[in-house]
Amino acid sequence: MKFNFRTKFILANLIVVFITMIILAIFVIQGIMYYNFKTNQDQLIKMGSEAQVYITQEIKAAGSSASNSTIFTSRALTISEDLAKINNLRVLLFDTDGVMVADSANVDISDDIKYGKEIEIALGLEAGKSVAVYKRVDSVTSIYYAMPVFVDNEMVGVVSFIKSLEFTDAIVMQILLLFLGASIIGFITIFKFSSYLSGKILQPVRDLADSTKRLSEGSFSELLHYDVNDEIGDLTRNFNKMSHNINDKLNLIENEKQKFSSIIASINDGVIALDSDLKTFVSNSKASEILGLENGKINTETMEDIPELVDMIDFVFRERKDISKQFDYKGKQLYVFANLIMNKDTQLGILLVLRDITKIKELEDQQRLFISSVSHELRTPLTTIIGYTDLLLRRGTENKELVTKSLATINTEGKRLLRLVSDLLDLSKYANAQFQMIMADVDLNHLLEEVISQMKMKGSKFNLDIFYNRTELPLIKGDYDRLKQVFINILDNAIKYSNPGDIIKVIATQNEKHVEISIRDHGSGIPDDVKDRIFDPFYRVDEDRSRDMGGTGLGLAIVKDIVERHGGSITVESQINEGTMISIDLPVT
C-alpha cells in the first residue's frame, strides 16, 4: 500500500502523539505509584516511631510491676484501638512469638489479610528498623508494615500497620481513563490539525512536483509562485531560476542549432559529419542530393556503398590528416574533402565535404573544346592565309593568276576570320551576365518580315525560297536587333542545310502566354544523337558544308543564348533526310 507524503506526515504525527501519550502515561502512573508508595512508606515509618513512643508510654503509665511484655499483651487491644484511631488505619499487635494479640478491626477471623514473613522478619530486627511489603490481595494493593517494639531495650512485640492503597489504585485508573480520553481527543485534534497543516505546507511542494514533471516533459516556461521566506520558498525561487536558465539555454541552443542548420543547409556543398562509430550526426540536404538519396537520410550503409568514401575515412582515422579526392559516383563527378573533427584534443569524428563538380567538369570540357574549336577555327583560315602569302613570297607576283587566286583566297579567309572573331565577340558579349539588352515592345511580324526579306536574297542564290505565314501576333518584350540576329542565324542555317529548290517555312503562332516561331527546312536533317549538340559553340553537323558556306559554328550557340536571355526556349526537331524544325518560344509581355 503506497502512502503519499501527506499521509505519512499525518501518520507520523499520530504515531508521535500516541507514543508521547504512552510514555507520559507510563511516567505519570509509575511516578504516582512510586511517589505514593514512598510517601506512605515514610508515613508508616513515622507512625511506627510514634507508635513505639505511644506503646512505651502506655506500658510505663500502666504502673504495673509485671513485665513490659505482659503489660503489652494485656493492653494490646486498647493500644491497637488507640493507634488505629490516631493513625486512621488498621493496627495489629503481635507478641514476641509472632502470635497476633490484637487487631483494631475487631474481627474474629482475619481472613482478609495475608501476612507473609514480615512478622517473622520484624521480630528479628533491632530497634529503629522496620519492614514493609507491597501486596496485592483480592485486587486491592496495600502496604504491610511491621516494626518491633522495644521498651527499656526489651522487645515486647511487633506492631503492624496495614495501609490500603486503594485510593492510589483508583487514582491510577482515573489517570488511565483520562489519558485514554486525552489520547482520543489528541488523535482527533492532531489528525485534523495535521491534515490542515500538511495541506498548507505541502501545497507548494505538490506544485513544485507538478512543475518539475511538466519541466521534464519539456515545458520549460514553468514558473511557481510562493512568496514565503522559508526553505520551500528558497527551493521555489531556485526552481524558477533553474527553469529560466534552462529555458534560456534551450532557446540559445535552439537558436544556435537553427543557425547551424541554416548554415549547413545554406552551404552549397554536401556536409556529412560522422562520429567515431561512423554514425551520422550532421548532414545537409545537399549531401543527400549529391549522393542521390531520395529519403535524404545518410547512414552507415550509405557510406559503405561508396568505396572511395570508405577509403578516405580509413585514411583520415589512420593518418589523422585531411584528404581530398575526385571520383565518379552514379554518373556524377564528385570532389570530396575529409578531415578529423577535433575539440581541443578530443576527436569527435570525421567531417566530409562533398561537391558535385560534374557541371564544372562539363564546363571545363566545354571550355577546352571551345578553345580547341576556336584555335582550330582561327588556325584554319590563318594557315590558308599564311600559306598563300608564303606562296606569293616564294613564287613572286609575276603569275597574275596565282596572285589573283591567292589574294581572293586570302580575302575570303580573312573575311571568314573576321566573321569568326565577330561571332566570338558576340557570343562573349551575350554570355556576359553584365551585358544589357535593350528591351522594348517588338512587333514580331514586322521583324520576321524584315529578316525574311533580307534572307530571301541570300536564299535566292541557292534557289531557295522562304515562306512566312503572317498571323496576328501580340507585342513581345525584346531586344529588336538581338531577336533579328536570332532569326537571321536560324534562317542562315536553314539555307545552308537546305537543298536547292526547297522552301523554308516560317510560322508564328500564339499560345496562351507564348509566341512560337517555327522555322522549317527540308534539308538533310540532324541525327538524334547529336540533335542537342547543335547549340554547342563550334559544333557543326556537317563540318565541311558549314565551312564552305562560311559558317563559324557559333550561330546557334548565339541564338540559344539570346533566346534564353529573353526568357524563352528553343527546341529542335529533326529527321534525317526529312528536314529540321527549330521552334522558339518567346514570352508575351
Partner: protein, 390 residues
C-alpha cells in the same frame, strides 16, 4: 511489513499493560527500613540505646498544674469546681481553685476554697506561699484579674495588684524577690516579693508604655533591665511580641514579632524562644539572642507549648503531625534545635505552662480527657508526669 507492524503493536500492548503495573515497586518482597529513611528530622527516644523514659505517670493528680516547689515535694494545681445553683447565682459556672499536691502523701489539698476563679499560680518558696490570679468566675470580659498572694495554708492573703488593675494572666516570677506583671492600661510593674497593695512605695517600679497595650504575658531579664511582653493587637486580634528596656518611667517598646504565639525567656542563655507563623498554616519556633538580636529557627511544624527546661540547656515542646487533631507529641531538643527526641505521643496536652522538677529530669504538664458523662461538657484535667533521661 505486516510482521513488523504486528510486532510493534504487540510491543505497544505490552508497554501499555505494563505501564499500569508498578515497575519500581517489588510486590511481595519485604524491604527493611530504618528511621533515617523517613523525612522527619526527629528521632525516637527508643532508638537510642540508653534508657530514655524512666517513668510515666499519666494521672499523677487531677487538675491543671501551675508550679512546683523548690524542694520538688509539692505541686501547685488548679482543680475545676462548679457553682451550685442557689439563690445567689443564676447560672452554672465552672471555676478553678488552687490546691497543693504532695508527692509524699499523694494528696491534693485545697488551699483557699473560694467561689472566685483562682488560676495561674506561682509558689513563693521564700515566703511560704504562692501568688495567683483571682477573678470572678465565668467569661465576663470586663472582669479584672487580681494578683493575690496567700500563704500555703490560706490563712493570710495579700492583694498585690490594685483593684482597678486587670493583671495579665501571663505574669512571671523572676526570682524569689521579684515579680513582673502587666495590665490592661499598658503598664508593666516590677513588684517586690514583700510589697503590700496599700503601700505604693513598696512597688518596685511602674513603667508606662507609650500606648495602652493589652499585655497578655510579660517576663524580665534583670541583667539588661529588659522586659519581653505579648500583647493583643486590637486591629488584627492577634498577639504581638515586644521588648522594652525598663530604664525609665516612660518607655518605648520595640516590636519583635507580629502574630507571635507565645514566648519563653532563658536568663542563662540570654535568649528568648518564641513561636511565629510558618510559611503555610504551621508555625516555627525561633530563638532570639537578646544581645546580638540574631534569630535562628529551631523547629517548624504545628507547634503547641514550649519552654526551656529548668537547666535551660534544653527545650521541651509539643507538636502535632495532624493540625486537625487535638493530640500532641512531646519532644525535647537542645537549645540549638538539634537532637530532638520524642518524650510522649498523642496526648491532649493543655494548661498554662510546662512545669519542670527543680533538680530532676521530670516534667509535669496537664492533659485533658473528655468526661465520660455525656450530660456534662466539662473536660477532665489531670497532671501527667514523665521522668526521662536525656
Amino acid at each position: 511489513m505486516k510482521k513488523t507492524m504486528g510486532l510493534i503493536i504487540l510491543i505497544l500492548l505490552i508497554v501499555i499493560v505494563s505501564g499500569c503495573t508498578p515497575i519500581f515497586i517489588k510486590e511481595d518482597e519485604p524491604v527493611i527500613l530504618t528511621s533515617a529513611e523517613s523525612n522527619s528530622s526527629q528521632s525516637n527516644a527508643s532508638e537510642d540505646s540508653s534508657v530514655f523514659i524512666k517513668n510515666i505517670d499519666s494521672q499523677l493528680t487531677d487538675g491543671i498544674v501551675y508550679d512546683i516547689s523548690k524542694d520538688g515535694k509539692t505541686l501547685l494545681v488548679g482543680t475545676q469546681e462548679n457553682t451550685a445553683l442557689d439563690s445567689t447565682t443564676e447560672t452554672d459556672e465552672n471555676f478553678s481553685n488552687l490546691n497543693i499536691y504532695s508527692f509524699e502523701t499523694d494528696q491534693l489539698t485545697p488551699v483557699l476554697t473560694s467561689k472566685q476563679n483562682q488560676f495561674s499560680g506561682y509558689i513563693d518558696d521564700k515566703n511560704k506561699g504562692f501568688y495567683y490570679l483571682e477573678s470572678a468566675p465565668g467569661k465576663d470580659s470586663n472582669a479584672n484579674n487580681k494578683l493575690v498572694w496567700t500563704d500555703l495554708n490560706g490563712d493570710t492573703t495579700k492583694n498585690i495588684s490594685l483593684n482597678e488593675e486587670n493583671v495579665s494572666a501571663g505574669y512571671s516570677m523572676i526570682n524569689d524577690e521579684l515579680l513582673i506583671y502587666g495590665n490592661g492600661k499598658g503598664e508593666i510593674k516590677l513588684v517586690s516579693a514583700s510589697s503590700k497593695i496599700s503601700d505604693e512605695d513598696n512597688i518596685t517600679s511602674t513603667y508606662l508604655l507609650d500606648k495602652s497595650y493589652n499585655i497578655l504575658k510579660v517576663d524580665y531579664i534583670e541583667k539588661y533591665q529588659m522586659a519581653f511582653f505579648l500583647c493583643k493587637n486590637e486591629e488584627t486580634d492577634l498577639k504581638d511580641l515586644y521588648y522594652v528596656y525598663l530604664t525609665k518611667k516612660n518607655v518605648q517598646p520595640v516590636l519583635v514579632q507580629r502574630n507571635a504565639g507565645d514566648f519563653d525567656l532563658s536568663t542563662e542563655n540570654e535568649a528568648l524562644i518564641y513561636s511565629a507563623p510558618g510559611l503555610k498554616d504551621d508555625s516555627q519556633l525561633i530563638s532570639l539572642d537578646i544581645v546580638e538580636k540574631t534569630r535562628i529557627s529551631l523547629y517548624k511544624g504545628y507547634l503547641g507549648m514550649f519552654a526551656f527546661t529548668n537547666t535551660e540547656d534544653q527545650i521541651i515542646y509539643s507538636e502535632k503531625s495532624d493540625p486537625s487533631s487535638s493530640s500532641q507529641n512531646l519532644w525535647i531538643m537542645d537549645i540549638a534545635g538539634n537532637d530532638a527526641m520524642q518524650l510522649a505521643s498523642n496526648l491532649n496536652i493543655t494548661g498554662d505552662r510546662l512545669v519542670f522538677h527543680p533538680y530532676n529530669s521530670v516534667i509535669y504538664f496537664t492533659v485533658y480527657a473528655l468526661n465520660k458523662d455525656e450530660n456534662t461538657k466539662a473536660l477532665n484535667y489531670s497532671v501527667y508526669m514523665i521522668d526521662y533521661n536525656y
